[in-house]
Symmetry: C2
Subunit: 332 residues, 2 copies
């Protein structure tokens, strides 16, 4: 019973309100003044409204916000989103917004001047507990829908698609325990980021201690520093928050003359394309990038048509890819 986007605009013009407000009224959402609601309903009565969606997805670019492309996981998402958007006949603007460059907010402010039909945010500000999400809500209120990959914020009216960090940790722990490991450590990036928080919580829920969690950065050097502390503390296995961190953890083990997995087992996260070629080939947890990209684009195109989308967070199940960086525990 939701009108198409064009129809929303007609109703908004008639009622003298934004299309977002019309949408809120038609979807019976809170936060609309009674007088406004009455004006929108009067407009509906005057104009009627169309219940069938138009088939066209309309015009306008899709902006994809991504922290950077040097991280192979982000490059994989960007590549897949480009493929799916292209197949849907849409062009994407890729904005690499993050620390050290243009902020997401600056980009979004700039984009208000360009015809943007919708936004896909990958590991964006909703994933950062220190960041504001107001800029997204502002755009959404202006009629530009947004969907979010790997970042959830209950205060934003978007659709959310995340890989389950909790399950990633659970299957990693189960795999290492099957090899006899008991001293397992977790190496994650900064705890301001949701995936770090979620992995930590799932790890502690497995009966491990706070002292077995080290938070550094999602980089090779971050993984190396975290592994140094975890190995010093006697851990025989390390679960990492990203493949790149895992490569750093392996480097630290090698630097100490330790064998992986003979002395230390290492599990990554992401399964970015080249992990089968590392030394040793990395056991890691694969994010289902194609499925997540497809779902996010589908939801965004639905929202662009003015149809309602589910605001619940969709959690995708990761797969454990067992290669050569994990093995039976040895007494060191």
């Amino acid at each position: 019973m939701i009108p198409t986007r064009a129809r929303l605009a007609d109703l908004a013009a008639e009622a003298g309100v934004s299309t977002a407000t019309v949408s809120r009224v038609l979807n019976d959402k809170p936060g609309v003044a009674e007088s406004t609601r009455a004006a929108v309903l009067a407009a509906v009565q005057a104009l009627g409204f169309q219940t069938e969606p138009e088939q066209s997805d309309g015009e306008g670019l899709i902006a994809v916000m991504i922290p950077e492309l040097a991280n192979p996981s982000f490059a994989a998402f960007a590549n897949q989103l480009a493929l799916v958007l292209t197949a849907a006949g849409r062009q994407m603007i890729l904005c690499t917004a993050g620390p050290g460059g243009t902020s997401e907010e600056q980009y979004l402010d700039e984009l208000l001047g360009v015809e943007i039909a919708g936004i896909i945010s990958v590991s964006g500000s909703p994933a950062d507990s220190l960041a504001s999400h107001e800029h997204y809500q502002r755009l959404i209120d202006a009629g530009v829908p947004a969907v979010f990959i790997n970042g959830y914020a209950s205060t934003v009216d978007g659709a959310f698609f995340s890989c389950s960090d909790a399950e990633a940790v659970t299957i990693s722990v189960a795999h290492l325990r099957s090899y006899g490991h008991e001293r397992i450590g977790l190496a994650v990036g900064q705890l301001r980021y949701q995936p770090s928080q979620r992995k930590r919580a799932a790890f502690l829920a497995q009966g491990f201690d706070e002292s077995s969690v080290v938070s550094t950065f999602f980089t090779v050097e971050g993984g190396q520093a975290a592994a140094a502390r975890l190995i010093d503390a006697g851990h025989t296995a390390i679960i990492c928050g990203s493949d790149v961190m895992a490569l750093g953890a392996i480097r630290e083990a090698h630097t100490r003359g330790l064998d992986v997995p003979g002395d230390v087992s290492v599990v990554g996260y992401d399964d970015t394309p080249l992990m089968a070629f590392t030394n040793p080939a990395l056991t890691t947890v694969r994010q289902p990038v194609p499925a997540m990209a497809q779902a996010a684009v589908g939801a965004l195109l639905t929202a662009i048509r003015g149809l309602p989308t589910d605001r619940a967070e969709m959690l995708f199940h990761p797969d454990l890819i067992i290669r050569q960086s994990t093995g039976p525990v040895h007494a060191r």
Copy 2:
């Protein structure tokens, strides 16, 4: 003595021709009818023209054309271009145009409807001897300048920035010869691509035979297939057209129970970020991505200001990064 872009537009309107035509006349380029030239010069006489460039880079998005982001070399260029463009206050549209997706030409046709200030093409159609470049010249004629990374076409009015494929091969051969290798093979992607042609020519110039060149695809599987043929033919060292091909070549050697570099030495090309972590760590030739991105963006912003840019191809010197995939020749 070149007017600014705004001034170009004034002259074009006065003369009833395109800004590109005005530019050709003012730069004394061929291909303009005498009557048109006279009309432009009359407009110059009537309006005068400004000789100092404006300082502003103006508005409009920069479109970056790149074949795909799954290839880490292309991701590295995209990431670096995003950094440099952001620092220059410009937003980029990243278009992944290539086989199996939207073609470059389709993208460019679409982009004619959006306000695009300029185009950066990475390994685009000028690098493909089977592709047409007309779409670029059409845009350039419409006043949208283009610069090209790793693809040169003498028929396009752009600026060109390439890593020297010839030098990459020369330094790879010298390195392998210093280890005593004489049976050296070259594995490249399809010969329709300029980098393949250039590497092949440089390789043959080093005294090697046609039979030591295998052309497949720029993928892991392409490298694996090429290595199979080169190893069968008794080569002790393989120079690959990309890092990803080199990983395939190493996989082929490992599949046969051969040691790298004990039995076969392998050299890559690109030095994408994770090559220090492969098994064995890859000896490869590094493209100077930051310098190339900086130069290309600089030239594009210069062209956007209406200033002349050099059309010669700038060749950047690559560095050989020696790791563990190359070593002394052994009799097999």
